[in-house]
């Protein structure tokens, strides 16, 4: 009997242990799946799967960068000499051009003659540049494929253009989103910090217990309101307000996002900062008061310095909350993909981009992978935030 009980206890302990590993496991799985999908965007050609760029065998050009290709397709570059080739004008040939050059009879009912026709085309046009699916290439292809330079991490992070669906070469630069996220968060902090810290100070040191018991639950309630409701409120109330106050064409701006986010970050900052202020021992405050300091002097000289690291943690967690917030921001910032240069223009943030575009990105495609790569960036931000908080709190313990 006793033995059975001991076994039973061990068994239960095992169940408890395995439950407690689930959070760690989830974090690891999140990392795994984000990277599995997201890293797919790097170190591969920016062309969609199966597509290639081909030129005539006589053409000496071996590789092109995405920017050069884009310029060629926009007809900013029209001569091969501009990209290191012979002095010959570039003749663009894409899938859409097939029917311009060949009739349906020539291609056959199920395009069975297409490969042969492509061969003829590349031979007869030495200056041609073909953007075509490799499935359509004949086995005895008379041209050679051009190597398009891979998307680098640098292009991804600092690229200023985000045109994930443009043909033939999409652009995946997330710089506008990084700046957008930064601006919206900064604005939110400028709003939430003074309000949040003042409220925390009020709750911890000014309000009597009765008032505190009313105000604190209300602030916590503010945390419970779903972000989509904040977004809705922002869309109906704050966006028009911003628009009319600053006489803008559109009210969906960084400022509108900051206002909504600022309100949303308040409860985090208030609760954590207030908890931190409460950790200051009563005996220290009494010692200060007994020396003739006013409550405000005590707060400034004893309580706040003592709670400094806790207050910093509150601020950092508030930033984390603001960076990761999706829906409310998606609904009020206008989601323009330009780099925002002020608080009064539309912008888009990292999370809002994922939310807005993942539904339309074909599964497994470049766009899809790029959005997961955005997820990686966002995730790394969070880890950084948490490490900072852990560091600040650790320092406090010492």
């Amino acid at each position: 009997m006793k033995r059975f009980r001991r076994l039973f206890e061990k068994f239960i302990e095992g169940i408890l242990l395995s439950s407690s590993t689930i959070t760690s496991l989830t974090v690891i799985l999140i990392v795994l799946f984000l990277f599995r999908e997201g890293l797919g965007i790097f170190n591969r050609s920016p062309l969609e799967h199966n597509f290639i760029i081909a030129v005539s065998k006589q053409n000496p050009v071996q590789d092109l960068s995405s920017d050069q290709l884009k310029a060629i397709f926009n007809q900013d570059i029209t001569n091969w000499s501009q990209v290191g080739g012979k002095n010959d004008s570039i003749i663009l040939f894409t899938v859409n051009d097939i029917t311009n050059y060949f009739t349906e009879e020539e291609l056959g009912a199920s395009l069975e003659y297409l490969p042969q026709k492509l061969n003829e085309f590349i031979v007869s046009h030495p200056g041609a540049l073909m953007h075509i699916s490799d499935k359509n290439l004949p086995s005895d292809f008379q041209g050679h494929t051009i190597h398009v330079k891979n998307i680098s991490v640098k292009d991804f992070l600092f690229g200023k253009q985000w045109y994930p669906t443009s043909e033939p070469i999409p652009s995946f630069g997330i710089w506008p989103m990084i700046i957008g996220t930064f601006l919206v968060t900064l604005g939110a902090l400028l709003i939430a910090l003074p309000l949040g810290l003042a409220t925390a100070l009020f709750l911890a040191e000014v309000a009597d217990i009765r008032l505190r018991n009313i105000v604190k639950p209300l602030v916590e309630l503010l945390a419970g309101i779903p972000s989509v409701v904040y977004g809705f409120f922002g869309l109906i109330v704050i966006v028009p307000m911003v628009q009319s106050t600053f006489k803008l064409d559109v009210g969906e701006t960084v400022l509108a996002g900051s206002l909504v986010l600022g309100i949303m970050a308040l409860p985090t900052i208030v609760t954590i900062a207030e908890d931190a202020l409460r950790t200051t021992p009563r005996s220290l405050k009494e010692a200060s008061l007994a020396l003739g300091a006013t409550r405000w002097q005590t707060l400034r000289r004893v309580t706040i310095p003592y709670a400094k690291s806790g207050i910093s943690a509150a601020i950092i967690l508030g930033i984390g909350r603001a960076i990761g917030e999706t829906m409310a921001v998606l609904m009020v910032t206008g989601n323009a993909s330009n780099v925002p240069h002020s608080f009064l223009v539309p912008a888009r943030t990292l999370p809002a981009t994922i939310a807005a575009e993942l539904g339309e990105a074909p599964y497994g495609g470049l766009h899809f992978k790029a959005l997961f790569a955005l997820g990686i960036v966002l995730f790394l931000f969070t880890i950084m935030i948490n490490l900072t908080v852990a560091y600040v709190r650790n320092k406090e313990r010492k």
């Binding site: 206890e9 959070t23 709750l203 999706t326 948490n386």
Partner: protein, 284 residues
Amino acid sequence: MTRKQLSQYIAFSSFTIISLVVVGILFVILGFIIVRGASVISWEFITGMPEEGMTKGGILPAIVGTGCLILGSMIFAFPVGVLSGIYMNEYLSDNWFRRFIDFMTNNLAGVPSIVFGLFGMALFVNYLGFGDSIIAGSMTLGLLTLPVIIRTTEEALKSVDDSLRTGSLALGATKLQTIRKVVLPVAFPNIITGLILSIGRVSGETAPILFTVAAYFLPNLPHSIYDQVMALPYHLYVLATSGTNMEESRPMAYGTAFVLIVIVLLMNLLANFLRKALGKRVKM
């Protein structure tokens, strides 16, 4: 008034005014939604299907969908969260393993909800092949809310006086018996409170369900856990930003926001009530 008293007066007055502003903001938001939403609420709105491009009718499928998601996520997250909270507080001493799990739990709590959406889509929808379904959405939401439940469980257990544990152990009870018969009953009200508050949170999350379960519009209620559902927060998002006729569907949006707010308020009230009611029972 001396200078130092004057500066205290100014500082404390401004803190008070700012706090009132913060509370005021809350009332403006709640008041706005409640006033505009209440007039939309009717029996048909709660129990009817959306009609005429979601400009008329009700939001029953969204309510049912959110209900399914709450139930599904809690079935998963509540036991796992409470069990791991118990393990972390009662079994683990302050060693590297404990700190590691703590750190990971904090990390999970800080992961943005949209990243949960990505993750849920990659793992549950695609890799495990559940497709857009209640089970995929529930698991995603469950993982999202897990850290909250773990933390509240831990807090609840921490507030149990250590003398109760040593007392029970001294009487020859095993660790497990002590936890089951002494610690848990005392901590129970606070654990339940945490559960209810996390229900409030789950009901309002949008980003994690965007790509794992939520449907724009469904004419039917779900039949199995592999069905897609509509959900209140996503429905509000759709009505507010991408409905076919945004001006005409505005009343529906107010009504949906109202229902969401009411759920959150109810959960808060219920949590407070239970904390008090169950707290009394334990004291006796």
